[in-house]
Point group: C2
Chain length 499, copies 2
Amino acid sequence: MLLRVRAAVAQLAAGLGAGPGAQPPAEGRGGGAGAGRGSPPPAAFCRPAFLQLTPEELRRADDHTGRAVQSPRDGRRRLPWSTGYAEVINAGKSQHNEDQACCEVVFVEQRPSPRGCLSSREGSRELDGGRKGFYFHYWALFDGHAGSGAAVMASERLHLHICEQLRELVEILQDPSPPPICLPHDTQSGSADTNQMSNAEGCGEVPSDAVPRFHLEKAVSHESLVIGAIENAFKHMDEQIERERASQHLPGGCCALAAIYLMGKFYVANAGDSRAIIIRNGEIIPMSREFTPETERQRLQFLALLRPELLGKEFTHLEFPRRIQPKELGKKMLYRDQNMNGWAYKKIEEDDLKFPLIFGEGKKARMMATIGVTRGLGDHDLKVFSSNIHIKPFLSCFPEVRVYDLTQYEHCPDDVLVLGTDGLWDVTNDEEVAGVVMEVLTSYEPNDPCRYTMVAQELVVRSRGVLKERGWRLANDKLGSGDDISVFVIPLGGPGNYT
Amino acid sequence: MLLRVRAAVAQLAAGLGAGPGAQPPAEGRGGGAGAGRGSPPPAAFCRPAFLQLTPEELRRADDHTGRAVQSPRDGRRRLPWSTGYAEVINAGKSQHNEDQACCEVVFVEQRPSPRGCLSSREGSRELDGGRKGFYFHYWALFDGHAGSGAAVMASERLHLHICEQLRELVEILQDPSPPPICLPHDTQSGSADTNQMSNAEGCGEVPSDAVPRFHLEKAVSHESLVIGAIENAFKHMDEQIERERASQHLPGGCCALAAIYLMGKFYVANAGDSRAIIIRNGEIIPMSREFTPETERQRLQFLALLRPELLGKEFTHLEFPRRIQPKELGKKMLYRDQNMNGWAYKKIEEDDLKFPLIFGEGKKARMMATIGVTRGLGDHDLKVFSSNIHIKPFLSCFPEVRVYDLTQYEHCPDDVLVLGTDGLWDVTNDEEVAGVVMEVLTSYEPNDPCRYTMVAQELVVRSRGVLKERGWRLANDKLGSGDDISVFVIPLGGPGNYT
């Protein structure tokens, strides 16, 4: 059974992603190869398709005691740009590895014009077979919780949702002139721009001079259209999980971290507590920030203040440094309201005895005593323990997207983008990761395509540690990460140099 | 009349600020010297008390055509630390200079214990006369709009509200141990800390072991207590303006930027579009950010989304790059929702024809087509033109407070903190300000106390420009600032060195 599902997943991920022009995301994750749509499959164990694991390798990857590090094998299909990847299962905190990963090259094909009113604008690239479009490179990590269903589906689908959003923009992104503010009636955006009206006239549209140009018109960049496309792709992904969570057995949720390389720029989109950094000439450039109850306190408190009914009379939107006892009524206690960054004393009232919306510190910080991340996909059924209070209204599926222009700097083979789930970052900080990257890369030839895999493996091994009598231990004898760990190491000297 | 009010204001500001222990902020800004409480005074023209302007000087300062630069005169009272200050009136955009400024040294006296249960903890400093407390230094700029009433009152009162908030914390801030999470019943926080219970027992309080200590208890720093005190002082200032706006004739509102030096640290609090930077060894360190419809777009859109009734059916929370025409219904237009940073296309619906909540770019960006700043004090009566839609729910009176630890670096006499209203920054950027600072300071001896005033004057003159046939022009012939301009230049080599 495991194998059948894995095969289906591999087929879907490989077939749809690298295939001839992405299709609109299909409903359902099964659809063939035994994972029939009628009978929801159980939450099955599967690993990224690109690992191409044999049944025996899959069993080893699922072994909590050995915690063998998994990487794409030599001699099998190499990842684009010779990207390095490594992963390891957790030390027993969940039955299976709930991280998932995806790496694809996706062709975005221009949507056909709906009325046969074909545009022939310059700048739209015709590719072999006359298809117009462009490619993007894609790497993503998904860190699941409360089951792996959401992470598996997101790893199979998110890039297709991004592709779908970008299809609207094929011509616009390939045209150096500013994107049009408005597109004509019922026409796909692919056939419209500032020149659109002359095209539109031929189709019986209103002529351009009928629409007055306003003096006050904001300029919007191509870059911000890509960011908007990625943001909306995350939203559509979340909605798909919501629609199919019952039929497709998708419990829980997942953090999502995706890097998209498109037209010379990296777009790093993060929703959750995974993390991305660039290491360039030894310098560390953060490419994401974590979204947790602590970092998003003010957004969460603001929502709770404006929509107190979401707290179900169990929680207060105020933050306190600890729980308050009923007998402390009337004393003064430190608190923080949504518009404060500092702390002040307030007299304790009846309402303050409720549980604080945000509570705890660092890795132990929780929202509504339930969840430690505040952005991600899924979690539509998550409720506060033994209550009817939903968590989802407080979670955001929207990523923060950071942009890195690869053309602004000449990169050498030792410059990399590292993506890691929190299993990596919980025990290894930015500087230590940069140290490992430099240390490992210098011991391989610059043109050795295996060197980035070696870095990824070393990062995973050093964060996992070694099994000793008192559990998994790092070199300094501190506890290693007992979490699932997944790492991509993407060379930035890549485009054109590494294939 | 002008003179009478000015004298009253000067007396209040000087008397209360530098006087023997701050009083709780009095109700009303008049109260004596002719500005009687019964008859609300008209919006009178006054300048900062520390300028000590004569009637003739005051008239010159109010002259829009000459735009003479004002600074504290040699031979009169010098500002603390030899701080430099300069200002100039606008070129005619409002009747009077709507900027205000304040510079004070304030003594924060410990509040007397309510039950005569005097604390005698070590660390609380006894000053002359047996009074316990500490001093803070204070500089602030207020940039008024729609009248100068709010700016005048804030310049007279904000430091007293800060003092009032800090009085609660006199002992706690002087004690190196972490601040107590909880204070006992009905006791002023000044007499309570981790040792509070033994004191409290003497007063018949519950003994300490009756309150269980929880494992999960967040540590709160002294610094964050000061931040909280400043934040709440801004809130109380705003509430005072609200209470007294009718009786004291306080139309309009103001941006507020305040720098507080306390126990080795600068706390720079900003609500609005004024700006503060530190120039240290030629390096620029931003100490504030501006709060405008553009920088606060997501907060404003989030509020509008959750509370659509605040938009009065006139506005949409979505952002569009320009107004939409009714005949464009059904077309696709670029938009941004509250959780997006990028742009995407949407089909125009009926609701999108409303005016966007945020509209325009840069200095022309407006919220609800009305106001270009989104934080500050006052504006309680401000409504959208010819409607009953209030702006205030969208404005925040809370500042962002940034902290700079003066003890972490050895400062030379050329290191300064510059505070300026937007009249400065609209035409002079950070690098240009730093250039002027360095250029002027090198032409004076390091121990010349006038040198910071010379810098402030030069910054104002260069931003105002020179009156030519085609208006006020900068050296590069671009338009100078037609706005009020006010600048403080505070030497960081100051504490102990400059008095």
